[in-house]
């Protein structure tokens, strides 16, 4: 049964988590820019500005995306006279709001407002899907040909990555159901669709891998689904081979072409929330949610959890940055084909993988892995 926090704590978390998420997202975005810049042989946002320049350009640029957003917030907002005003203006707010709500449902180091809600996974997926929908809507509403092309590409890309993404997520969610009654006469019951349950499952179990005891991260138990999800996230976050909808040289800025000032700022904010939500979701689903329940060395467990969360996020960002730096952009049809080939295949393997594993174990074959 879902166990919720007291009301006032929920309210506090509802306010603090999005703010923390925003700044963490800014940091992640800045890190992506920095890492990508380093791979390209340049310095990227200046983290320590030389002393002589500080009066002009400030002392650090760790929060560069934050400054970008602040600048946009102080800029004039132009709305094309031909645009469909209501949709055009509301779309970025819908995107940002849906992601803020998504943050309430996703536990960050075990803390969440409505995480224990039984279907929080479904709610999160739905809320994440709203973002591409708003982009499509705003591209169509902006009455720019480039916006229209951007929307069209966004639709196709969303269709392409959403399938492996959802299959992958649910195959992982089933793991909790399949693996809970370990071994023997396994009923095919569905697992929990609550992200908190998934996190808790990973935190409370561990795997004995040829005698070694390691945490029961789902990335180990179902690596195929994890890779498929990561590939889908690259499309969701518009990382390099998949940044087709807003490819600058092809379609100016796609759906964002006609956006200026505050509305663009809100979209940029939404992008940052999306980055945070995606990374947190991945960590929750596959890396144990960075949840540590033991106070090692006398240090409180939540500090350990924070450290683990940071390390895991940085590793993910590093992977994303390498992919971003080492790739050219696909054409939209090539991207669709690619998603239908590799990530979909991986996610389908991920779907049957737990069954194979469990049946092998049930048949008495020693695969070296057992859940403790």
């Amino acid at each position: 049964m879902a166990v919720y926090l007291p009301l006032w704590e929920t309210v506090i978390i509802c306010f603090t988590l999005p703010v923390a998420g925003f700044f963490l997202g800014v940091l992640f975005q800045s890190l992506i820019r920095k890492f990508t810049a380093r791979f390209q042989g340049r310095r990227g946002p200046w983290y320590i500005v030389p002393k002589s320049l500080r009066p002009v350009v400030g002392s650090t640029r760790i929060l560069q995306p934050f400054w970008d957003i602040m600048k946009l917030m102080y800029k004039q907002t132009l709305i094309p006279s031909t645009a469909q005003r209501k949709i055009f203006m509301s779309a970025p707010f819908v995107a940002a709001a849906s992601l803020i709500i998504a943050i309430w449902f996703i536990p960050v180091i075990g803390v969440s407002a409505f995480g224990p809600f039984e279907f929080s996974l479904i709610v999160t997926l739905y809320l994440m899907l709203i973002v591409p929908l708003t982009i499509v809507a705003s591209g169509a509403a902006s009455s720019s040909p480039w916006g229209a092309i951007g929307s069209y590409r966004e639709v196709i890309l969303t269709l392409a990555y959403e399938l492996p993404f959802i299959i992958g997520i649910f195959s992982t969610a089933m793991l909790t159901g399949i693996l809970t009654p370990v071994y023997g006469g396994l009923p095919l019951i569905p697992g929990s669709l609550s992200i908190t349950d998934i996190v808790n499952f990973q935190a409370s179990h561990s795997i004995s891998f040829f005698g070694f005891k390691i945490p029961a991260f789902f990335i180990i138990l179902n690596p195929f689904a994890a890779v498929a999800i990561l590939m889908s996230l690259i499309g969701k976050l518009k990382i390099k081979p998949m940044d087709i909808p807003d490819a600058e040289v092809e379609v100016i800025a796609g759906a964002y072409t006609e956006y200026t000032g505050k509305l663009l700022g809100v979209y940029e904010m939404a992008k940052i929330f999306l980055l945070f939500v995606s990374l947190t979701l991945f960590i929750d689903m596959y890396l144990g949610g960075a949840l540590i329940t033991v106070d090692y060395l006398g240090v409180p467990s939540f500090i350990w959890s924070g450290i683990v969360f940071g390390v895991e996020a940085i590793i993910l960002i590093l992977i994303i940055s390498v992919v971003n730096a080492a790739n050219a952009r696909f054409r939209i049809d090539q991207a669709f084909t690619w998603y239908m080939k590799i990530p979909l295949a991986l996610s389908l393997i991920g779907l049957v993988w737990p069954y194979i594993m469990v049946s092998l174990a049930g048949a008495g074959v020693n695969i070296g892995i057992s859940i403790v």
Binding site: R33, R42, R43, W46, G58, W67, M70, Q76, T77, I252
Partner: protein
């Protein structure tokens, strides 16, 4: 310095408008983005959409056919905005200005400041990337002081 000024100074997005130049300044602007100079250190990024930009870099003599486009591109930029004229051609017409000095040549619609207000002038044929970055920083300082 308030948050507003700080934000504007810290994140100047530039837009490159090629107005009938010889391309020399254009490739130097491209070179100013390369790892040797990397203006992203100080928040300068090139955006290819005037609607997203704060600073417009204009090069070239602005041929007559180009004048309405330049004007419109400038109008498309949301305020506050700044313009940097890059290279001798953008400032006066440079080598393409005819000898007799009775005004611009039959094809020249500019110099740029005749069409749109210019804030910073960067002479050079073409200016070095450092000079361009220098101009952008000067323009960003002007920008941050705008309302």
């Amino acid at each position: 310095m308030g948050l507003k000024q700080k934000a504007r100074l810290y994140s100047p997005w530039v837009f490159h408008a090629h107005c009938s130049g010889c391309n020399g300044c254009g490739i130097e602007i491209a070179a100013a983005l390369n790892p040797r100079y990397d203006p992203e250190r100080i928040g300068v990024t090139l955006h290819n959409n005037p609607r997203h930009a704060d600073i417009m870099l204009v090069e070239g003599i602005v041929a007559k056919q180009h004048v309405p486009f330049l004007k419109r591109t400038y109008e498309q930029m949301p305020t506050p905005k700044a313009v940097v004229a890059i290279g001798s051609c953008a400032i006066t017409g440079g080598v393409f200005k005819p000898d007799d000095d009775k005004g611009p040549s039959y094809t020249q619609g500019g110099p740029v400041d005749r069409i749109i207000p210019v804030d910073v002038y960067v002479p050079g044929c073409p200016p070095k990337p450092e000079a361009i970055i220098d101009g952008i920083i000067k323009a960003a300082i002007i920008l941050s002081k705008r309302d």
